[in-house]
C-alpha cells in the first residue's frame, strides 16, 4: 500500500528551501503549511478579483502548453494524484489511494467514491481511462510523460490500472500533469470546441464565464469532493474573477485602487513600491523556473567546452541579480530549475574574469563572433544580455546582440540556427526527471532542449535515475547528472526566479505553488 504519505515523504526529502531573504523564507514556510486554515475561523463566500498577465487560450486540458491556460485548468480539473499545497509534494486527487506491485510495474488507483463532475454526474472509471488514454496517445502534447506506460485500463468499476514496460519512478508525478486532467467523456466527445470554453471537470471551481481577451469567471463547484479538516465544503470562495491585465503598471495601479484583491507577476522593479503600500502583502515564492542562456553546442565557437566555461566565468550574475531581479532569486548551480532532487553541493561556476580570459586563450579562440539572441521588447532579458556582453567582451570574446520577435527567435532555436539565446524554462511537475531528461538527454526529440548537448554517460545516468524507486539512489544519480551537465558548460544559468505576487491583507491563505499556479481552494476573504 503506497499512500499519499509515502509520496509526500519521497518528495519532501530533498527539498531545501532556498536562501531567499530570511523574512521571505519565513513567510514561505508558514504559508506553505497545508491545512493551516482548518483550525481557524473562516468567512465563507465572496468574490476574489485576481489580475494576471496571461489569459487562458483554451480550457481544454488536452491542448495547451501555455501558463495562461494551464494555471486556470489547474483550478477547474483534477487528476488522480495532484501537487499538494506547496507544489513540492503529491497528494491524492481523484484517487483516494493507490497500490504499487512488488515489481513496480503495476500501479492501481482507487477512485474516490464521492467524486462528481461539475454537472453532478459521478466520475467513473471510464472517464478516467478515457482521459489518461487520450493524454498518452502518441500525438498528445505531453504523451512523452507516459512513454513507459504499456496500458491504462479499468480493473473494476472502482480501480484504474496502469501497467508499465519498465520501472518508472516519476509515474505518480506524471499522472498529476494537467494535460491528463480527468474530463467528463460524454461532454468532451459531444463538443470538444465547447469544452474549451465550458469544461466539465471535477475540480474545486467551474467556469461561469470565459470571455476571451478579458476575464474568466470561476465559481465554486458545489459537487467538489474536497472538504477542510473540520468537514466544511471547499472551496470557501463563491467566485473568482480572473482578469486578464497584460500591462504590469495597470495591475499595480489596480491593486492600489482596490480594483483587484490579488495581482500576479509584480515586475521586479516595482516590488519596492508595492511592498511599501499599506494593507498590501508582497509574496515572493520560490518556483520551478530557471532563466538561462541557451547555448547551441553544434555551433562554433560554442562547440568548445573551454569557450562555454569561459562564458560562464565571465557572467557577472551578481550584477544581474541586483539590477535586473532587484535581489530576488538565487544564483544557480544547476542547468535546470530547482526541483525535488536538486543538489546543493554542486560547485557554482563563479564570476572570475581572469579564469575566463585564460580559458579563451587556451581554446585558441579565433574571433568567431557569438550572436546572442534576445526577444524584442523583453527589457529584463535585454539588460541581462548587455551585462553578459560586457563580461564576455572583457574576456576577449566577440559578442553581438540580436533582437528577434519571440516566434522568430524560437524558430531559430528549434532549427539550430542560433548560438546563444536568453530565455527560460519552467516545470509543471515536481519530479526532477521531466526537465533533467528534456534538457540533457540527447535521444529526446528536442536534441537536449535545442542545446545539441551530447553526453552518453548522462543518458545512461538519467535512465537509471528514472528506473530507480529508492529516493537516496535517485538523489545520488541526479547529483552526478547535475554536476556533469552543469560543469560541461551546458548553458549559462542566470537565476532561479521566484514568483512575485501582491495581495490585499483581507485575502487569507493565498499561496503560490512551486509549480507556478495558486492554491485557491482554501482562500477566504476577511472582510
Amino acid at each position: 500500500m503506497v499512500s499519499a504519505k509515502r509520496a509526500r515523504r519521497m518528495h519532501s526529502r530533498c527539498v531545501r528551501l532556498a536562501a531567499w531573504a530570511a523574512a521571505v523564507s519565513a513567510v514561505a514556510i508558514v504559508g506553505a503549511l497545508p491545512n493551516d486554515a482548518g483550525a481557524a475561523e473562516v468567512n465563507e463566500g465572496g468574490t476574489l478579483i485576481f489580475a494576471r498577465p496571461d489569459e487562458p487560450l483554451t480550457l481544454d486540458p488536452f491542448i495547451p502548453a501555455d501558463n495562461g491556460s494551464i494555471w486556470a485548468i489547474e483550478q477547474i480539473c483534477d487528476t488522480l494524484v495532484e501537487a499538494d499545497a506547496t507544489g513540492e509534494g503529491l497528494e491524492p486527487g481523484l484517487a483516494e489511494s493507490w497500490e504499487v506491485s512488488a515489481d513496480e510495474l503495476v500501479y492501481t488507483f482507487k477512485l474516490r467514491p464521492d467524486a462528481k463532475f461539475s454537472n453532478g454526474e459521478p466520475v467513473t472509471v471510464e472517464d478516467v481511462v478515457f482521459s489518461y488514454q487520450k493524454a498518452a496517445r502518441p500525438d498528445g502534447t505531453y504523451a512523452f510523460l507516459f512513454d513507459p506506460v504499456a496500458s491504462i485500463e479499468a480493473a473494476d468499476d472502482q480501480h484504474v490500472r496502469f501497467t508499465l514496460e519498465e520501472p518508472y519512478a516519476p509515474l505518480l508525478s506524471s499522472v498529476s500533469i494537467f494535460a491528463a486532467s480527468v474530463v467528463n467523456q460524454e461532454a468532451y466527445e459531444a463538443d470538444p470546441e465547447r469544452f474549451g470554453v465550458e469544461p466539465v471537470c471535477s475540480g474545486a471551481f467551474k467556469v461561469e464565464e470565459h470571455s476571451r481577451g478579458s476575464h474568466t469567471t470561476l465559481v465554486a463547484n458545489e459537487h467538489y469532493w474536497g472538504k477542510d479538516e473540520e468537514g466544511r465544503q471547499l472551496p470557501y470562495l463563491d467566485r473568482i474573477e480572473m482578469r486578464y491585465v497584460p500591462e504590469s503598471n495597470a495591475r499595480v495601479l489596480g491593486l492600489i485602487n482596490g480594483d483587484f484583491d490579488v495581482i500576479s507577476t509584480v515586475p521586479f522593479n516595482q516590488t519596492g513600491s508595492v511592498e511599501a503600500l499599506p494593507g498590501v502583502t508582497l509574496e515572493v515564492q520560490p518556483m520551478y523556473r530557471l532563466d538561462y542562456v541557451y547555448l547551441n553546442h553544434a555551433k562554433a565557437p560554442i562547440d568548445d567546452e573551454k569557450i562555454r566555461l569561459a562564458l560562464n566565468h565571465a557572467a557577472n550574475r551578481d550584477a544581474i541579480l541586483q539590477t535586473v531581479y532587484f535581489g530576488y532569486g538565487e544564483t544557480p548551480n544547476s542547468y535546470m530549475p530547482k526541483i525535488n532532487y536538486h543538489c546543493e553541493t554542486v560547485e557554482p561556476l563563479d564570476f572570475d574574469l581572469e579564469k575566463a580570459k585564460a580559458l579563451v586563450e587556451e581554446a585558441g579562440y579565433d574571433g568567431t563572433p557569438i550572436e546572442l539572441q534576445i526577444d524584442t521588447g523583453n527589457a529584463p532579458f535585454r539588460q541581462i544580455a548587455t551585462i553578459l556582453q560586457q563580461g564576455w567582451t572583457a574576456a576577449g570574446l566577440n559578442v553581438e546582440l540580436a533582437e528577434y520577435d519571440v516566434g522568430t527567435a524560437w524558430g531559430h532555436t528549434e532549427t539550430g540556427d542560433y548560438q546563444a539565446y536568453v530565455s527560460y524554462i519552467t516545470s509543471d511537475l515536481n519530479d526532477q526527471d521531466e526537465l533533467a531528461s528534456l534538457q540533457a538527454d540527447q535521444t529526446g526529440s528536442s536534441e537536449s532542449f535545442f542545446s545539441r548537448y551530447k553526453n552518453d554517460k548522462v543518458v545512461d545516468l538519467l535512465a537509471q535515475a528514472r528506473a530507480s524507486s529508492d529516493p537516496a539512489t535517485r538523489q545520488d544519480l541526479y547529483c552526478q547528472i547535475q554536476e556533469t551537465v552543469y560543469h560541461d558548460g551546458y548553458s549559462i544559468p542566470i537565476n532561479f526566479v521566484p514568483a512575485v505576487n501582491a495581495y490585499q491583507d483581507h485575502v487569507q491563505n493565498w499561496r503560490n505553488l512551486t509549480t507556478g499556479w495558486w492554491w485557491l481552494r482554501d482562500v477566504w476573504l476577511d472582510q
Binding site: P138, T141, P246, N249, L253, D405, H412, S445
Partner: protein, 313 residues
C-alpha cells in the same frame, strides 16, 4: 439613386483590394520563420506531435492549396479555427470587433469635438498668441507616447479623482462608455492635433482663395464666411486625414488596448503574429482590409454631405 450606384460601384472596387491584402498577408507570414505548433508547445513537441498537428490543421498542404482553401471557406463565412485558441476565428474576431469599433468611434468623436473649435480659433487668429498656443499644445499632445499618457490619465482620473475605472471594458453600453473614456481620450490626444493641423492648414489656404474675397466683397459677415465657405471647403482634406488615421488605428491602437486591458483587435493581432496563428492573422487581414475600405467609403459619403459635386466626378 446616384448615391446608391456610387456606393455599389465602390463596393465592387473593394473586392480586388481585399483579395490583394489577404494574399499579401498570407504570403508574408509564410516567409517569416517560426511554426505555430512548435511555438505553442515550447520545446515539448515531438516530431510526431508536430506532424499530426500539421495534418490536422492542413499546414502540410502546398501554400497555393492552403490559400485557395482559405478563400473558398471565407466565401462561405468560415475563417477557420485558431491554432492556439482552438476556437472559430470568426467568433474570436467578432468578440473583439465591438470593443475596437467602440473605442475608435469614441476616440474620433472626442477628437472631432476638440479639433473643430480649436482649428477654427487657430485659423481665424492666425499668427496670434492663441494660434501659437494651440499649435504648441497640439504638438505636445501628439509627441507624448500613448503608453505614458494612458498611465498619466489612469493616475489622475482613476486613482486621484476616482472618476473612471482604470482597466477593462465593462458589460453594458453604459459601462462601456465609462470604461472607454480614458482610453479614448488617450487616442484623441494623439488624433486631435493631426486634425487641427490639417484643418487649420486647409482653412488658411481657402481663406486666401478668390471666392472668399468675393464673399467678403458681397458684405457677408466674417462668421458666416468662416462657417459656410471656409470650414466647409476645408473639411474635405481633413475627412481624408481622419479616415486614414482610423484605418491605421484599427490595428495601431494596440498600445492603448494593452495599457487599459481592452479586448481589442490590435492586441489579438500582435499575439496572433507572435504565435504564428495563421488562421487568425489571415482572418484579421481580411477584416482590417474590409474595415479600411468601409471607413474610406464612409469618408467619401461624408464628402458628399459637404460637397455634392463629388457625386458628379
Amino acid at each position: 439613386m446616384l448615391v446608391l450606384s456610387y456606393v455599389l460601384g465602390r463596393l465592387v472596387q473593394m473586392v480586388p483590394v481585399v483579395l490583394g491584402v489577404v494574399l499579401i498577408a498570407f504570403l508574408t507570414i509564410q516567409l517569416v520563420p517560426g511554426d505555430p505548433v512548435r511555438i505553442m508547445l515550447h520545446g515539448r513537441a515531438t516530431d510526431e506531435v508536430v506532424a499530426a498537428a500539421h495534418a490536422r490543421l492542413g499546414l502540410d498542404q502546398p501554400v497555393p492549396v492552403q490559400f485557395a482553401r482559405f478563400v473558398w471557406n471565407a466565401l462561405h463565412g468560415d475563417l477557420g479555427t485558431s491554432i492556439i485558441q482552438q476556437a472559430p476565428v470568426t467568433a474570436i474576431i467578432a468578440e473583439r470587433l465591438g470593443p475596437s469599433i467602440f473605442l475608435l468611434s469614441y476616440s474620433a468623436l472626442i477628437a472631432i469635438v476638440v479639433a473643430l473649435p480649436l482649428a477654427l480659433l487657430s485659423a481665424s487668429r492666425h499668427g496670434r498668441p492663441v494660434d501659437h498656443a494651440i499649435r504648441i499644445g497640439g504638438m505636445i499632445g501628439f509627441a507624448m507616447p500613448p503608453f505614458w499618457i494612458g498611465l498619466l490619465l489612469m493616475l489622475l482620473f482613476g486613482l486621484t479623482l476616482g472618476l473612471f475605472p482604470i482597466s477593462g471594458y465593462g458589460r453594458s453600453f453604459g459601462e462601456h462608455v465609462v470604461h472607454l473614456t480614458l482610453p479614448s481620450l488617450t487616442i484623441a490626444l494623439f488624433l486631435a492635433p493631426i486634425l487641427i493641423q490639417s484643418l487649420r492648414g486647409s482653412m488658411l489656404e481657402v481663406m486666401t482663395a478668390d471666392y472668399i474675397e468675393v464673399a467678403r466683397a458681397k458684405g457677408l459677415s466674417e462668421r458666416r464666411i468662416m462657417a459656410k465657405h471656409v470650414l466647409r471647403n476645408a473639411l474635405i482634406p481633413t475627412i481624408t486625414v481622419l479616415a486614414v488615421n482610423i484605418g491605421w488605428l484599427l490595428s495601431g491602437a494596440v498600445i492603448v488596448e494593452y495599457v487599459f486591458s481592452l479586448p481589442g483587435l490590435g492586441s489579438l493581432l500582435v499575439r496572433a503574429v507572435g504565435f504564428r496563428d495563421y488562421p487568425v492573422i489571415q482572418g484579421l487581414a481580411l477584416v482590417f482590409a474590409m474595415l479600411v475600405v468601409v471607413v474610406n467609403l464612409l469618408a467619401d459619403l461624408a464628402y458628399m454631405l459637404v460637397d455634392r459635386r463629388v457625386l458628379r466626378a
